[in-house]
């Protein structure tokens, strides 16, 4: 006698308990602290903050711990938590020209005011597994120099003076907010940039890479890449002026792209722009390349039909929380739909067989 499967509730509870045990792993190995993750896995923390759209290293570290190191799962935890936070207001625009830079490089000029600062980068490390780290992670102190101080001007500003780079229209309009209004297409550049900065690093990287390989090639130079802290100011209505409410680390990338001119624009350099929470330079550079590819319409370029030029394709598929949810939902029961498909296929087969039999008889 068949008994319908029951007990979903108990199965779920037991699965959760097992999951918690697996997350902890072997209990004879010391447990990870949130502070350890925050300090020692900081690039993972940065990615979670960037794609989770919430700047809070402690919460991001907690999410990584809870997600067993699955960063998309951690981003999801942060996004879900973010939903519950009340919104007090909006900050003033941050001034990246006044960034206190840990790293600042330009690929277009050998030197420039403010200098080239390599900062803490993997760039010139040899990717050899360091077996010493397996035993102990203590490092000698890095040598320190005198900080230069003073603002570090943007490289593209120098090109601007000669009129060699296309100027962006200035606007004080309040940008649309992707997290508070539904995405509307065609999207403004502000909305596109919001979508890209929280978009999946792998997806944005893949899109950027495709432009380099000829799918809407826009030959980008890294005009400037800078990583550092900026102050966040907010105007408090009761005070009537803006006050500092904290500082955040940002990665900013401006690309300088070759441009031979179009029907509407003279020959000049054009820009792509990337701005991402934390030290996240792969993402910031990718974002700048994709931003530039998506600007074909406003610059009067041809639509080459490349994926990276296709705003709807890029923006509707960049979000890994949307993507992973929809992808994984096919694990859910679909037996009602499948049943109706079964009946349809059986019916069509019966009809096809009947047809064949009739033809054979004729």
């Amino acid at each position: 006698m068949y008994v319908a499967v029951k007990g979903g509730e108990r199965a779920i509870e037991n699965a959760h308990a097992w999951l918690a045990e697996e997350r902890r792993g072997d209990t004879s190995v010391a447990e990870l602290s949130v502070a350890q993750i925050r300090e020692q896995l900081s690039l993972a923390v940065n990615r979670v903050m960037a794609e989770g759209s919430l700047y809070d290293p402690d919460l991001a570290a907690l999410a990584i711990k809870q997600a067993r190191g699955d960063l998309i799962e951690a981003i999801f935890l942060i996004r879900a938590y973010r939903t519950t936070l009340p919104r007090f207001g909006a900050s003033e625009p941050v001034e990246t020209g006044e960034m206190v830079c840990d790293r600042r490089i330009s690929a277009t000029f050998k030197d420039a005011p403010g200098g080239q600062v390599l900062g803490p980068t993997f760039d010139y490390t040899h990717r050899l597994l360091d077996f010493k780290l397996a035993a102990e992670g203590e490092v000698p102190e890095a040598p320190e120099g005198e900080a230069k101080g003073g603002p570090v001007p943007h490289i593209t500003g120098f090109l601007n003076r000669e009129g060699l780079i296309q100027t962006e229209d200035e606007s004080d309009a309040t940008p649309p907010d992707l997290t508070r209004e539904p995405m509307e297409l065609p999207a403004s550049r502000a909305l596109r940039l919001q979508s890209l900065t929280r978009g999946d690093e792998g997806f944005v990287l893949g899109m950027a890479y495709s432009t380099q390989r000829g799918y809407a090639r826009n030959h980008a130079f890294v005009g400037e890449l800078r990583i550092g802290t900026v102050e966040v100011e907010m105007e408090v209505p009761e005070l009537g002026f803006a006050i500092d409410i904290g500082e955040i680390t940002l990665t900013e990338c401006e690309t300088v792209n070759q441009f031979k001119g179009s029907k509407t624009e003279p020959p000049q350099f054009t820009r792509g722009y990337g701005l991402v929470f934390g030290q996240t330079e792969r993402k910031a550079i990718s974002m700048a390349l994709v931003d530039r590819a998506l600007r074909w319409k406003e610059l009067g370029e041809d639509d080459q039909g490349a994926p990276a030029q296709d705003e709807e394709f890029v923006l509707m598929h960049a979000d890994n929380i949307q993507a992973t949810g929809f992808l994984e939902h096919i694990k859910l029961p679909h037996y009602v739909d499948f049943q109706s498909e079964l009946e349809l296929v059986r019916k069509l087969r019966r009809e096809a067989e009947g047809q064949e039999a009739r033809e054979a008889a004729e």
């Binding site: 008994v3 979903g8 929380i321 929809f326 939902h329």
Partner: protein, 289 residues
């Protein structure tokens, strides 16, 4: 979990969703964009339905959650628990006692009343999506009432297969205006959509809400010479003997043996409690599975 607002979402967000619902009710079948929030369950797992339910629930509500017609499928259990915890509302498995029913892929067999709201979880709200992937294009097609593409698709089905090869998420036309996706319910359920209850459709990932007010005209697309046919397995329920309910096919042994049971578990339970016994059923006992 009293650190969260009633039904999880803050009041501002609920107001935004309610505005979208009201607009949807005013323009039946029209997809209203709304600023969907990230919920604590994944997109694609009912976040649209959950947000619509959260914005619609009041503390006096009695809620029922079904997935594939059943109250005890894992995701239905999970969503029901979510509302038990965040809204503290009473829940029930009995269709007749529920004031708000959230569903995935089915309409309950029992006729719903004007005191009830049916909330659907919708994966892809756009009925034209698989004919035209671009939102910018499909919105234009809706506004121009340009549904030729859909008719051509249905016609091609008939010319290739002799029948319309869509068995679930079968497109409907609402009040002679909008072509609408009924969500992936089997086409067996389509005729039930002209009902007394309010029907609300939430698509979280796609940021769309649409709605059907009570007794709205909902016509499944067809042709005069190929009329729409709701279909189900030609069988009766092996547990309760029902001939009029949608059936799941269950494989019972490795020799390909199978049986058919009601997909609507509450309907089946109700019939067995009333003394109906199917071919393989046993008399109903309170508390037994």
């Amino acid at each position: 979990m009293n650190e969260y607002n009633f039904a999880y979402l803050d009041e501002q967000t609920k107001r935004m969703i309610r505005r979208a619902i009201l607009k949807g009710l005013a323009i039946p079948g029209y997809q209203v964009p709304f600023a969907s929030r990230e919920m604590p369950m994944p997109y694609g797992w009912g976040t649209g339905g959950v947000q619509v339910s959260a914005a619609t629930l009041v503390p006096e509500d009695r809620m029922k959650v079904i997935d594939q017609g059943a109250d005890d499928t894992t995701n239905a259990v999970s969503i029901r628990k979510f509302f038990e915890r965040t809204a503290g509302v009473e829940t029930t498995e009995e269709t007749g006692r529920a004031t708000l029913i959230q569903t995935r892929h089915r309409i309950p067999e029992e006729t719903l009343t004007e005191d009830q709201i049916l909330v659907y979880q919708v994966p892809i709200p756009e009925p034209l999506r698989f004919l035209e992937p671009r939102e910018t294009e499909t919105r234009k097609m809706h506004s121009l009432e340009e549904y030729g593409l859909m008719h051509v698709k249905l016609y091609e089905d008939i010319s290739q297969h002799g029948a319309i090869a869509t068995s679930y998420a079968y497109p409907v036309k609402v009040e002679e205006r909008y072509v609408m996706d009924p969500s992936p319910i089997p086409k067996f359920d389509n005729p039930k959509m002209e009902m007394a209850a309010i029907q609300l459709f939430g698509a979280g990932r796609e940021q769309r809400i649409y709605a059907l007010p009570p007794w709205c005209e909902v016509v499944s697309l067809d042709f005069e010479d190929h009329p729409f046919e709701p279909s189900k397995a030609e069988h009766e329920c092996d547990l309760c003997g029902a001939e009029d309910s949608y059936l799941d096919e269950v494989i019972v042994d490795d020799a390909g043996g199978r049986m058919f049971v009601c997909s609507d578990t509450d309907y089946c339970r109700g019939r067995r409690a009333a003394g109906h016994v199917g071919a393989q059923g046993v008399p109903y006992e309170e508390g037994a599975a």
